[in-house]
Subunit: 348 residues, 3 copies
């Protein structure tokens, strides 16, 4: 691998780049949602279930904390995200890791003219794992590739790279669907509606992508024309024989779906340009609940604004707070996988 330069690496197709970050069926780095195939997903789901189950007792929690007490994780969050930060910190602490963090971009050593490569190389010397969230698309994969050549070959997890990738969010969304349908024959052959800003919302994009790992999924992509799912994802769905339809009337489809994945309108990207989108057509309200099947699950990556009325929170089909919890367990599972303590957990 060392014979390929960074520039050559970045020219490779995504499937080839993914191969650089896996060794003996174990992730060396998690950079892209595309790294998850169905066997890996199912391994991680099983592991997350075990972590959750162990966490129910004090003995189980102490066992988990005994797995990685001698390891130090760094949370490099120069793009703030309180929830993702705390979720990863909790995941580390569940496994007994100690953590250190950088959260303020302004305190970076970059003010002294140092490159971020130099800074991250040093951080990777001090720590056993880098968990990185920063605003620049493509930066995480560059660093992840370079880390393979630095002594120690420390692992890295992409906790969100701009508009680009947020693979653990996709992972927790899929894990939540997996759990919802656990007693209903699994996720295969389910009909799922994705709603909202499908163009810019990276969570919906990644989820649509990953759902092609399952059999017979039918997708309904509900968005205003301006925010429709981009062609690259639709092309991937077609290539993988995942059926989808597009609509801008989410409410017309409520009765037929097994799950609805609401997303936030990302209007912070609309810099100045006023849109004429009718947001009332993208919301789920208490009055719509009767239209849903008795077991139609309601997901949202959070934070939410007006897309889901708070009156829905107490409905048993609302699982968006479970998603947040699932995120913590699946992140702990991911770290356990990367540090090869997965067997210890499964065999306990």
């Amino acid at each position: 691998m060392s014979t390929v330069s960074l520039d050559q690496f970045l020219q490779l197709r995504i499937s080839r780049r993914c191969q650089y970050f896996i060794e003996n069926n174990r992730l060396l780095a998690l950079v892209y949602a595309q790294q998850f195939d169905r066997p890996l997903l199912e391994n991680l789901f099983r592991l997350a279930d075990a972590v959750r189950s162990l966490s129910e007792t004090s003995d189980g929690r102490l066992f988990l904390r005994s797995l990685l007490p001698d390891r130090r994780a760094m949370l490099y969050f120069t793009q703030p995200s309180t929830r993702t930060f705390l979720s990863f910190a909790a995941a580390c602490h569940i496994l007994g890791m100690s953590t250190a963090d950088v959260r303020d971009p302004a305190t970076s050593s970059e003010v002294k003219g140092e490159t971020r490569q130099d800074a991250l190389r040093i951080f990777s010397i001090y720590h056993d794992l880098i968990i990185m969230r920063q605003p620049e698309a493509g930066f995480c994969e560059k660093i992840a590739f370079q880390m393979l050549s630095w002594p120690g070959r420390k692992p890295i997890i992409n906790a969100g790279s701009g508009t680009d990738q947020h693979p653990t969010q996709a992972l927790l969304d899929l894990y939540t669907l997996h759990r919802c349908f656990g007693r209903a024959g699994g996720l295969d052959h389910k009909k799922i509606m994705l709603v909202g800003d499908l163009k810019r919302g990276r969570t919906a994009r990644s989820l649509a992508y990953l759902l092609t790992n399952y059999q017979g999924i039918e997708l309904i992509l509900a968005a205003p024309d301006e925010l429709a799912m981009a062609e690259d994802i639709k092309q991937h769905l077609r290539e993988n024989s995942t059926t989808f339809i597009e609509t801008n009337d989410m409410h017309a489809h409520l009765a037929e779906i097994d799950a609805i994945y609401m997303t936030r309108i990302q209007d912070e990207w609309d810099q100045g340009s006023k849109t004429s989108i009718d947001y009332s057509r993208l919301g789920l309200q208490a009055k719509h609940l009767t239209a849903l099947k008795p077991h139609c699950y309601i997901l949202h990556p959070l934070p939410r604004r007006r897309e889901i009325q708070t009156a829905i929170d107490s409905d048993p089909r609302a699982v968006y707070f479970d998603q947040a919890e699932n995120g913590m367990w699946i992140r702990a599972a991911l770290i356990a996988h990367m540090f090869a303590v997965d067997k210890d957990i499964l065999e306990h």
Copy 2:
């Protein structure tokens, strides 16, 4: 309890609201100083004494750290307070808890339009305890009530809510007095002078309130007229037969008191409006020490400014730095109580 709405709850008298946050003589949430009655205070004092005593040896410290190593606390400090933050962090670490924190209001997920209710619900999913300091009066009690209805019913501690409540400060002040008079027959029947901004200083207000749990206390409330103790507290003192007098000449009473509680002039609340208060009449200086009884203790919640000359620091009656230490022990005791490891500590 779940049959009462938040709005109904907020209409209840304080004594009724307190009942929501206690179950089987154990605090589910600490929101108000009014939650402390004498039996609870004495339990916590005994527990804090035990934590302090155990902390004197390495074995004792390791035992304490073995109590809650599988628990995670979140320090949600969107109103900065370095000392209170560090005191709680130390209290958590003494018991072996891991901690995560949010200290910068600007990094909050609120920037994406999320409500604080949603944010705190998620934080309570990731953690076993929320310790919250924020600037809005009344907010902590709302969240504490809502947390009772969320799955997990995670405990919360109010570490300061605006001008409103700061119950652990009141607790540590009382614990300090309790310790000072431990060998002098206890706190009952002592004469205590409170000095300074009694109108806005929530620490003096809470302390006066809690002192009604003791027998035969005599209070001297020393403040300029503009900063006199408010009527609500005086009414509470009268109802509980706690004697008090008011004065604006603290120095005239120095010879007769058993303890003096100095407070900081909160002039940061005087936005723009110049006051004509003569601060020299509110200060304790080295020259006043001879007027005090040989065992008259000098307290101050800190930070101090000019109210107490630094020359007084080395006087054995000055216990304001002990207060800071006591705060750490009593906070550890409070957390131990809430997590029901108090017996383990007392029986060790």
Copy 3:
């Protein structure tokens, strides 16, 4: 010692001040690079080697973490430095200590008018060790002296005090040289060139100072005239019979040296005033590598800018990233020394 006032202490010569911070051959506080003599340096180097070696196995790491799990360190970094902060945090975590930190000067209690003395006294109550980095020269020594008189006599480590002192940086630089020459007869009698801003760069100043602990060192001080090493250090070199020459042509000496210590141009101190320094004459580039001896080590305290081309990073003689790693080990060793667990480590 208590008979000396702070003002009297500050009037003492540095060698006398150093004596206040050592007791039974153990540092009570590390404030000045001048506190390191050769026996102490060699003890710390041996200890750091042992910590590093133990860290190679999980058993060793767990042993190290078992040394100080009942101790709490405070990282008081009101002058931001991400790398130094993370290095110390890692050093604490290696030994099992828990950490709390203050990194934002604006969140300090100083906003309420409290003195920093009061604040630090309280922080020292909550913690077993203060690690302090702040921008004011001379402040750390004042606090360190005062801490000796406060109950608990908690230890303090200077992690950088303005332009003044950064003793652990000097320590790690020397430790790196010690390791580089470990198989080549040690550091005595080596020829070392220091390059760059020798006037303001405290790392080069401290290193030159400490090198007088070794026999037969020859120094080449390479700097533009405007940035030449100051007279105080040159006087110290003369008094200790350490040979040196001065030059502004670093490249003329590349072939004769055993190590080159590059430093960053500290032009952030040039407030407004444009200098006419020719930076190209202060850089090491790939084309210069052939001029160096096969075992001439290349050091840099980092962060670097243009002084060292990144193409040099992969040369085996480049040890500047090793310096960062060495810093973590030697800081752990220093803390282990201060907490008297050095024997446990050496005998394990």
